[in-house]
Symmetry: C2
């Protein structure tokens, strides 16, 4: 399989924004402004056929051919009919990679126009992303081609999750959610119509990318089945891939075709491939995030026995139910010595069992002792700690305790905290410190099960 | 079936807080403070055996017997062993109803102590809620027995949803979520061990309560099966009831028993009863809220044909998939005249189909025209409008447009908006105005299906 070199696209030392504009309503303006705001440290150029002067203080040219510098990446945002000529100029100027943000190609029936782009990209050996996409974001190299303003779409912190997304809309919402939750991003790549660079190329690149620990994907169609299987077979042995595939139903398939001109294909066939090669399958947008955060923690369980520690009885019951309904998980049977230790350290009203209900007045000391004791039980593979911040004892000290203890535990630990503002504040605080936090019993328990499934797949030779 | 008069508990003209305390760490202090903060307009008294002076400026007595006033409600928060004597005094003082907040009864094996409470309550004909509960909250009558401070647990606005909850923990988190989302509460009743007042009594009361439009319930065990069936048969013809039943699995059942001493019983049997009598069944905590907000809008569909209007193609595809996978729903086939009208009013790049993708630059005018036209299509029963606020065109004017148009539409309308802070602000704004807003394709579509199911049950004679 021919591999594309996507490094100049994701780690460019020089960028030209073609279609840069002085008009704040133009996409080319927002993109240029975002590069400036993100503090892009490389060499930045603007291209505008009509421009006589610099735009936003950035050196501006009438054509990319006029730039006397080697360009790693050209970001093209001009009306569709002018894109082929601009791309041709990029090729002639030895630009290494290109991103076509503009829409107006296959997705509206303009397949010939799109084919022209592919011809040019091939002729010059210039990997070209899009068209009809948001482009890329990499907080480490401070590149940001997204034309969505930061007050509407906040940008995530640096982290280990890379997100490959065929849809700009889905991409932008998930990106916004990632930043809202406080966990970090490695790369965001919206690839739209996938005319040239497609999911196979992106997975090949991210498989070898050391900054990427987990990959999440939203895909509408897979064009190169054989090549996809080839990379799928290898990638999940190296790192987890979570996939949300649109077009599960005929209603969705037809909608996908009109969206990115994707041929969604038979979902069952796709799902069989995903399962065979250890992909983690998301059934809803929210699951992309739920599964990403637990897999990003890179701590794998040896079995499915879960211990629950809680300061709210009912929430513990609901989690026990969710575990009881999951074929891969069981409620751990605490060992006798652990029970004896707990009996000594817990107040008399605490019932020594799993779920362990610490009661509403549990504070950092009680939580700490419980987690330390239960966490060392050899009958326990994974820990689910419920912290309801509405209760009198729960506060930032409990949250900090969990964060501090997480690295000392040799086992996966997740937190469930449900509530509004006061809770949300603590959720973000724990999540930012690398502790996966959930907001419902179902999502927490399902994430534990998916972590176990991936751990088992990875162990298999 | 003997009906209890719970009005003095929920609409008390006079309240005595037994166990009121000057110590801010005591439950009795927080409860008294909450009554004061909530601006309770009735006559408020404090009772403390040791107190010589008034507490928090409230007239304080050594015993409820010393109060020369008729007391509608006594809220008791003192150590368990002293509760029977205090309750006996309430009976002698002709107190009409009581809430025992204190724990330390059946849930820790103290069944005799709990039976004493029931005897006293029965002897005096004094409906008694609890023990081991959070008590009640009614924003209309400004009563708030919750001992959880408002900075941790924000209180919801006045609305139509009443929440009957056996678990204090579950209750407090859901209450916090309700207030965080911006939709309103009629009554919150946490009934703990259900020693005297139980779910049957509460449903009987709420069935006739004009302020209650929708009931959500979290229950661990049902003690009086026959009586429950009797009220279940009647109540769902009047108003929807959404139920989350713990103890679906043996793991959950055993956990529930140790929590509120509930005998969870066979889940399948319970579920059969719920289904037979048109209860809406929640499978996770989050579904209590998802279903409550759509049922609270009291607008019922005549069929399952859904139209999707979106400013993000991929999110439309995911919703189409969710509809395609739901046996009760279909993607509506827009009528020819509606398609013609849309072709005239929409920009050329908009593909006239369902989902209707208005594109990323859609603003209030385009949204308004689309909703007006599609909303009047006789082939459409329900509307799902996706507003991704990350896009250039979406802002508060689009949100306001949806709110304004909702009442003019004779059909159910819900919104799906996914994202962080900027999105959340708009979600709350729309939700507060009575428009149900969702945060994932799966939850939005499942809620439409549950609305349809209830509408069909209600229509049946």
């Amino acid at each position: 399989m021919k591999k594309m070199n996507l490094k100049p696209m994701l780690k460019p030392e020089s960028v030209a924004i073609i279609g840069a504009s002085r008009d704040p309503d133009k996409v080319g303006h927002v993109i240029l402004q975002n590069y400036i705001n993100a503090g892009y440290p490389g060499r930045l150029y603007a291209v505008n056929v009509k421009s006589e002067e610099d735009i936003l203080g950035v050196k501006t040219f009438k054509s990319v051919l006029d730039i006397k510098d080697k360009i790693d990446l050209a970001v093209i945002s001009i009306p569709a009919q002018f894109v082929p000529a601009a791309l041709e100029e990029c090729g002639k100027a030895h630009v290494k990679t290109a991103i076509v943000v503009s829409g107006g190609f296959s997705e509206v029936g303009e397949t010939e126009l799109q084919e022209k782009l592919v011809e040019i990209a091939e002729k010059y050996g210039m990997p070209t992303l899009g068209p009809n996409c948001l482009g890329v974001m990499d907080p480490r190299s401070r590149i940001d081609t997204l034309f969505l303003p930061t007050y509407k779409l906040s940008r995530p912190a640096v982290g280990g999750v890379s997100f490959v997304c065929q849809s700009g809309a889905v991409g932008s919402t998930v990106l916004d959610l990632i930043s809202g939750e406080g966990f970090g991003l490695s790369k965001f790549i919206s690839y739209g119509n996938a005319a040239h660079v497609d999911e196979v190329d992106l997975l090949n690149y991210l498989m070898e990318d050391e900054e990427t620990k987990v990959i999440i994907m939203y895909i509408e169609g897979i064009k190169r089945g054989h090549e996809f299987v080839e990379v799928a077979r290898k990638i999940t042995k190296k790192k987890p891939v979570i996939v949300l595939k649109a077009g599960r139903t005929s209603a969705g398939m037809s909608a996908a075709h009109s969206h990115t001109a994707a041929l969604a294909g038979n979902y069952e066939a796709h799902e069989a491939v995903f399962r065979q090669f250890g992909f983690t399958i998301a059934e809803d947008l929210s699951e992309l995030l739920y599964f990403a955060k637990i897999l990003d923690s890179e701590k794998y369980p040896h079995g499915g026995r879960v211990a629950i520690i809680t300061n709210g009885g009912g929430t513990g019951v609901l989690c026990a139910d969710a575990i009881g309904s999951n074929p891969d998980l069981t409620l751990a049977e605490l060992s006798d010595s652990v029970k004896r230790d707990l009996r000594k350290s817990m107040p008399p009203l605490v019932n020594i069992r799993n779920p362990l209900d610490l009661a509403g007045d549990a504070e950092e000391v009680r939580y700490g002792k419980a987690l330390e004791t239960v966490g060392n039980d050899e009958n326990v593979d994974m820990l689910l700690v419920i912290i309801l911040f509405q209760t009198p004892g729960a506060d930032s000290r409990v949250a900090a305790k969990m964060v501090n203890m997480k690295d000392r535990l040799g086992k996966p630990l997740i937190v469930l905290s449900i509530g509004a503002d006061y809770t949300r504040m603590h959720r973000i605080m724990m999540e930012s410190a690398g502790l996966p936090v959930y907001d419902s019993p179902a999502s927490a328990v399902k994430s534990l099960a998916e972590l176990l499934k991936y751990a088992r797949y990875k162990e298999r030779k």
